[in-house]
């Protein structure tokens, strides 16, 4: 048995070598397909992490009406502090707000020179508890307090958040659809290549049948070829993306991430890389398994 398996493995590698051009084209196509799929996956993965990080740091700022006096502010502050979602609450008076603005405009103080009175409202900076730090949690909290008449405005980056979530969802759906399409595409590419390889070795297969080779013995090397092509294609795609991301990271992504406050760019970890390789091998195997009918059609 072991001799047969070794012979089949040897035969698979020989076939790949003998059909080098066809093998190269197939593996390249699989590589390109996987690069596209994995690039989308990486974008979705990083957007997802970015979303989590961003929500984690999310702060809600409520601005008081100009008419709100100290008693109203204290009452509102107490009411909000008592809410189960709230972790910390910090009061920023109109005066403190102006000081903060002046600090942030250091060197450009002239902008504020024409002001006769402080236009900035008093505000509360609210940080929610960890368990409520989600998009839904924040929106529910905001909806709960928005009826308060003492409040002029509630700010939590809602427009930005909505846009971000729309883009994130679009990427997620696109990458899922693209992934399915490209996996089918890979399957057809492998399937057709194996068919071409079978056809190019038609005589050899006929001779194998003549001398008493079993169907399994004839088909096994083709299965191995499919697995190798899928595995190598996925492997090269991972390697290519790893190199590209690393080179790109050093030049551009670091500054982009710093700007967005997104943290480090996340690459596929070992377990996902393993899954990608196994997926490549399985697609290769499926492609070759379903091309095997053409072998049975050779009537010898």
């Amino acid at each position: 048995m072991i001799h047969k398996i070794l012979y089949c493995l040897k035969s698979s590698f020989q076939n790949l070598r003998n059909n080098l051009f066809l093998s190269f084209i197939t593996t390249s196509t699989i590589t390109i397909t996987f690069i596209i799929c994995l690039a989308f996956f990486l974008i979705v993965l990083n957007l997802s992490v970015f979303k989590e990080n961003w929500v984690d740091r999310l702060q809600i700022i409520v601005y008081f009406n100009d008419s709100a006096n100290a008693a109203t502010i204290d009452k509102t502050r107490s009411e909000l502090s008592a809410m189960v979602e709230v972790e910390t609450i910090t009061f920023v008076s109109r005066k403190e707000a102006m000081v903060l603005l002046q600090q942030s405009l250091q060197g450009q103080d002239g902008i504020l020179e024409g002001l006769t009175e402080n236009p900035l409202p008093a505000s509360l900076e609210i940080k929610l508890k960890q368990e409520y730090l989600s998009v839904d949690g924040v929106e529910n909290f905001v909806a709960g307090i928005s009826g308060n008449e003492a409040l002029q405005d509630i700010e939590y980056g809602q427009k930005w958040l909505q846009r971000f979530l729309t883009i994130f969802e679009a990427f997620r759906i696109t990458s899922l659809s693209l992934g399915v399409c490209l996996i089918l595409f890979t399957y057809f590419i492998i399937s057709n290549t194996i068919k071409l390889m079978i056809f190019s070795r038609r005589e050899e297969i006929e001779i194998m049948k003549l001398v008493g080779a079993t169907s399994l013995f004839i088909k096994f090397p083709f299965w191995i070829e499919g697995i190798i092509q899928g595995f190598v294609g996925a492997g090269i795609a991972l390697l290519f993306l790893y190199c590209t991301v690393n080179l790109f990271l050093t030049n551009h992504l670091v500054s982009l991430n710093f700007f967005l406050g997104a943290g480090n760019f996340i690459f596929i970890n070992f377990s996902i890389a393993g899954i990608v390789l196994v997926l490549g091998a399985l697609i290769g195997l499926a492609g070759s398994l379903f091309s095997m009918n053409s072998i049975d059609e050779f009537n010898v």
Binding site: M1, H3, K4, Y7, N18, E203, E204, E206, I207, M208, K209, L210, V211, G212, A213, T214, S215, F217, N299, V300
Partner: protein, 220 residues
Amino acid sequence: MIQLHQVSKLYGSNIPALSDISLTIPKGEFVFVTGPSGAGKTTLLKLIFSSERPSQGEIVVDGVNIARIKQSAIPYFRRKIGVVFQDFKLINSKTVYDNVAFTLDIVGTQRKIVKKKVWQVLKWVGLLPKKDSYPPCLSGGEQQRVAIARAIINNPVLLLADEPTGNLDPDLALEIMKLLKAINARGTTIVIATHNQAMAQRFSDNIITLAHGQIQTNSQ
């Protein structure tokens, strides 16, 4: 060794290749099947080799009723039979050695035994010095000797040859026929399909002549 009982083979719906053939070939015989082109010689060999199924009748080869053999059992049945064709049917991308060893590889024979057997059989057919050559670099006679080596390496009980000398000049044809005779002398039953009546008469008294898919004469 081979028994055919009222065997007929139709191609398509109504084109008879063989009609009502009954014959017996005992073990160890050297038999020629002759007749003009289209007489049914190749079809007869294909039926014996289980490459085709008979439309009617029974075929028993070495105790196996191949008219009713399961598809999955055919490879195992074929390992007991050697086949040689007019066009040699060698794998051009494999060396002479690999072409012959191939038959043993598919049954999972140990490498050491494969090497020993291939060397023996190549020496016997006189091709050991060319074991590393590829078929296209060999003469027609040499290619046919490789095909014969491949056919006999498993010590088959039966060797079928379909026009084995059809592509060869008379000297090479004679050489191949002598080789087949030598194989027969070792106990292997040999059935050769040929249109060359003179060649058949020269090498055997057992000649089955076919015409229009029927046995015309059987000198057995």
